[in-house]
Symmetry: C2
Subunit: 131 residues, 2 copies
Amino acid sequence: MRMGDKPTPRPTDAELAILRVLWERGPSTVREVHDDLSRTQDTGYTTVLKLLQIMTDKGLVVRDESQRAHVYATRESEQRTQGRLIGDLIERAFGGSPTKLVMQALSGTKASAEELTQIRELLEKMEGEAK
Amino acid sequence: MRMGDKPTPRPTDAELAILRVLWERGPSTVREVHDDLSRTQDTGYTTVLKLLQIMTDKGLVVRDESQRAHVYATRESEQRTQGRLIGDLIERAFGGSPTKLVMQALSGTKASAEELTQIRELLEKMEGEAK
DNA sequence: CCTGAACTACGAATCTTTTCGTTGACCATA
DNA sequence: TATGGTCAACGAAAAGATTCGTAGTTCAGG
């Protein structure tokens, strides 16, 4: 990130919905994003287009204009964006304590035994490192 | 919650900042909230007042008007609100998978050994129940 | 009783987010 | 070369979030 560049802003709700499509589909045209989104919600084509243009300005996505139908791709990985959103929520709602968020998330969920095991394995790996 | 009542809406950023003060202080007057908030940010008194009035309309807080300086209190517990926010983020950014969020939150943090232990204990308790 | 401090209520301005209509370009094909 | 389909660009409207000035009420102290 160059000096003077703003850090990537937190995506809004509508923007996040689009990011999720791009994460799932990979680089896509407006039409592809719109068709995908239409399966679950009722958004106009030009709305999606406008949003993607705004997201390009904000630096949330990048645009390949070499084809007539421009192709949009996320600028940051799914993980990185998710990590940013979590960090943001930790700051705003959990007084900066990641542990509180994890505890709350865990107790609020009915995860399967396999999932719990998966989490515990990561946990044990971290405990090993934190020694 | 009575029939026809709207579910509590997601608090906005400014609203969440106020909720945090109320969680920490307990029921408080506008002035108390404002003074607390002023330690970290620069918000006008009437701005806080207006926000609390809006939050009352939305059902995020309740107001005791028996004194001249009205006393505001959160309507839902800290935990419940936090749980709602997490659930919301899971829906919007993690495709509905709580496990993904927990994994991501864990790997993105440098929790202390004690905290990791704390989490693991909760985890083991849950594994016991999920058996 | 008058004044000033502390308070609520209200309205409006501003900013951001979301939505979509309209326009004009491009291109295939009839 | 006209027609229709697909596209990006743009502007503006609508809705939501945030901010604060101003006005009017209440009350304690002089």
